[in-house]
């Protein structure tokens, strides 16, 4: 009896909700709003990375709306959808949100798996994709996937920056001869991404590359690091994800391996890689594609217009973390693209999908502009061409001092002469398989 009552109540609740959904989405059709769906993962196994990003992304949008009243008066309407880093939920979110409130024009899927599932869908819908670091590295070659943008860098480019730094520390590329470099990686395709680049360097400069797979999720890594210790490597490149990173750093450090010679990849560069490792992570380095910390003018603006008005997303404790900064700059690129789209068509009107895509295809944010945005040194300058969907691909090395990330180098240019032909070859193979005709860039 009790259960049938409960069931009835549940049913009625459900039908009421469905009715309401219709009502709400109908009344919200307002002009002068640019809709921005945000696929986030605030839960699930990788939540510690996802929360900061989502907060930064949302806070930047709030700042633009609060301080400037939107882009030339066009307010941005942000809607989050939780994917939990699962592909099917990501697809569901995309399908649910894409046609709401005047339609999505750009989407950032935040996961390589979701990116792959969305590539055919966004191409059919004409929606732009911004994949920051993750996703298809070969999308950096523009002619094949003309709606996908790898701004501001890829795994491959950032790995060349790491090698450049190592060579500089060793006093020149010629000194790499006979050295031992370990690449400890998430035993999946993600971890193997930089292997092509690393092998190329190993052959060219004569160092020994030791490839050391770590099985996901990587909660137990004694064996791996016992082996690494025996190699006595000069440098270690770490490409873990989620809990694998802190465990690697902690285990390595407790075995007496010098973590200041460990350099994490762009997804081993976040705060959740070092904080759980505690004291052991002091000195650990990583490559990233934006400035670390909160010492930028934009944070004052955020404080004035967002934090102090109690409009911060999430619990507000992610400020200044790597993930948060990534959220800021990703939103920054998206907003700037819209601004340029409006300049190309008509100011003060929400951009359509075509206009947004067109703006992305010639997105140009010089260093001076990043300073105007209050993100000088935080946001790397970007210049997109028809051929190159990555831009300069700059990255920098940072170091964890036990409390915060410190910038070790300035933004550096990657070895594009090496990676760009790799993008091209890979993208063309993909185009052939999918029957895509690369567009002409002349």
């Amino acid at each position: 009896m009790k259960t049938t009552m409960l069931k009835k109540a549940a049913l009625m609740g459900l039908s009421a909700c469905i009715g309401l959904t219709g009502a709400i989405s109908a009344q919200a059709q307002q002009a002068k709003e640019q809709y921005l769906p945000s696929l986030v993962y605030r839960t699930g196994p990788f939540a510690p990375s996802g929360i900061g990003f989502a907060d930064g992304f949302a806070d930047y949008v709030t700042l633009i709306n609060q301080r400037d009243g939107g882009i030339n008066g066009v307010k941005i309407r942000l809607e989050e959808c939780e994917t939990g880093y699962a592909n099917d939920r990501g697809v569901e979110c995309y399908e649910r949100l894409k046609d709401r409130h005047g339609g999505a024009t750009v989407v950032a899927p935040l996961s390589t798996g979701i990116t792959y599932a969305l590539i055919p869908r966004t191409r059919a819908d004409g929606i732009t994709m911004s994949t920051m670091g993750y996703g298809r590295a070969d999308a950096a070659y523009g002619p094949v996937l003309d709606n996908v943008f790898m701004v501001p860098t890829t795994y491959w480019s950032s790995t060349t920056v790491v090698m450049d730094y190592i060579a500089e520390q060793e006093g020149g590329w010629e000194n790499l001869k006979g050295k031992d470099i370990v690449h400890a990686y998430h035993d999946s395709a993600y971890g193997k991404e930089p292997l092509g680049v690393l092998r190329h360097y190993a052959e060219k400069y004569g160092f020994t590359l030791h490839e050391m797979p770590i099985s996901p999720p990587g909660v137990e890594q004694r064996t791996v690091w016992t082996q690494v210790r025996r190699i006595k490597p000069d440098w270690i490149s770490l490409f873990g994800w989620g809990v694998m990173n802190p465990t690697a750093i902690r285990t390595a450090s407790s075995m007496g391996i010098d973590v200041s010679h460990m350099i994490g990849g762009i997804y081993a560069a976040q705060d959740d890689a070092v904080k759980p490792a505690g004291e052991d992570a002091k000195g650990y380095k990583a490559v990233t594609f934006h400035g670390p910390g909160a010492d930028y003018p934009i944070y004052e603006e955020l404080k004035e217009h967002v934090y102090d008005k109690d409009m911060a997303a999430g619990s507000g404790d992610a400020k200044g973390t790597i993930a948060y900064n990534r959220g800021l700059i990703n939103a920054g690129y998206i907003v700037e693209a819209w601004r340029q789209a409006q300049e190309m068509s008509e100011k003060g009107r929400p951009s359509t999908r075509e206009e947004t895509l067109k703006a992305w295809q010639s997105l140009d944010i010089p260093e001076a502009r990043t300073k105007e945005l209050g993100m000088g040194g935080l946001m790397p300058p970007v210049h997109i061409t028809c051929l190159d969907h990555e831009g300069p691909g700059m990255a920098l090395i940072q170091q964890w001092n036990g409390e915060a990330w410190e910038q070790v180098t300035e933004f550096r240019k990657p070895n594009k002469d090496l990676v760009f032909p790799m993008y091209k070859a890979s993208a063309e193979a993909y185009a052939k398989q999918e029957g895509i005709t690369p567009k002409s860039c002349d």
Partner: protein, 352 residues
């Protein structure tokens, strides 16, 4: 009143052995099929077809596969995700490496999954109950690991690969409607197959093994071929479901994504739907696919000022609680609730 069997006489053995002996059931099924084939594709929105119906159809197929093993043959398996991955990757590799026509590839992928199923079913001859359940996790972890080896994704840099576009019998599968129809046709055919299989001698042997394998052995059922057949058939269904998942729903393949939680989800469908019931598979799949999404949509639809994260936490909490709730209310699953409802309809609206 509505659901009466009086007056429906069976004059032949054939009529007596029909899948649906009652006229009302037949009419109901025909109506459902008519709606599914003729009404839904023209009325449902893209979102509903793409994100609710497609996964529902595909998961139903996987659930039927698992139900054959767990519900009919009594062998608990937690390797469903791994087997789905095998099906998907087998089909992808066949598609890019050979020139075979797509229907052949589908069947071959199913057969390859059957092979994997039989291989990991071998220990079931010795190991039983929860020991077996945990052992099948070996299949889950090993297969996913194996499929991450570069050969299987043709040395793709990111390990995630795109499923190719394809056509069957001159029908090129492009739009959502195409994909919906193809999944629906495959599902209907295979569900019919499964329904008949479990009514056959093989199915009855499975049930004998499930109820007590020692006793079944004594009355002359050989456990080895019977159990292995269940593993093979079950894996075939699950393999096809994996192919559909990758080719028709997501359009991408990633070994990692067929993880242990996929296995749990399918097991939920089978148990919440009803062990040993084909109808239950559909109900269970609907529950597991739709409830989390509804739980996620409801708060924002109601305009509750909850953060995305809080909604998800609550979603997880309520989903877990609902599972417990359902198991307490009706441990035999939603299929049982359905038959209780039918019983009630015999008399309704009269008290007796």
């Amino acid at each position: 009143m509505i659901y009466r069997e009086s007056g429906q006489f069976k004059k032949t053995y054939q009529a007596d052995q029909a899948i649906l002996p009652l006229r009302q059931d037949r009419i109901f099924l025909i109506l459902v099929l008519l709606v599914a084939f003729l009404v839904v594709p023209f009325t449902a929105s893209n979102y509903v077809m793409n994100s609710l119906l497609l996964p529902f159809l595909i998961y139903s197929l996987a659930a039927i596969g698992l139900n054959i093993l767990v519900g009919y043959c009594g062998q608990i398996s937690l390797g469903t995700g791994g087997f789905m991955a095998v099906g998907a990757f087998a089909a992808w590799n066949l598609a890019i490496r050979t020139e075979l026509p797509m229907p052949v590839i589908f069947v071959l992928a199913g057969l390859i999954t059957s092979g994997a199923g039989v291989l990991f079913g071998l220990p079931a001859l010795r190991i039983k109950g929860f020991y077996l359940a945990v052992t099948t996790l070996a299949a889950q972890f090993f297969l996913v690991w194996l499929l991450q080896r570069p050969w299987f994704n043709n040395y793709s840099a990111s390990g995630v690969i795109s499923a190719p576009d394809f056509h069957m019998f001159g029908w090129s599968i492009e739009t959502v409607t195409d994909r919906y129809y193809l999944s629906l046709i495959i599902l209907v055919v295979m569900a019919l197959l499964a329904k008949n299989l479990v009514r056959s001698a093989t199915g009855r042997k499975w049930m004998a093994i499930r109820d007590m394998d020692v006793a079944a052995e004594i009355i002359g059922i050989r456990p080895m071929p019977t159990k292995l057949k269940a593993f093979a058939v079950s894996s075939f269904f699950i393999g096809i479901a994996g192919v559909l998942w990758a080719f028709l729903y997501l359009g991408q393949l990633e070994a990692d994504a067929f993880n242990i939680y996929t296995s749990f989800d399918v097991l939920f469908m089978v148990i919440i739907g009803g062990l040993g019931s084909i109808l239950g598979c559909f109900l269970g799949a609907a529950f597991v696919v739709l409830v989390p999404i509804f739980l996620n949509i409801i708060p924002s639809a109601l305009g509750l000022p909850l953060s995305t994260a809080m909604i998800s936490y609550i979603e997880v909490f309520i989903f877990g609680s609902l599972i417990i709730f359902f198991l307490i209310v009706e441990p035999h699953g939603m299929a049982r609730l359905w038959s209780i409802a039918k019983q009630k309809l015999r008399l309704w609206p009269f008290p007796y």
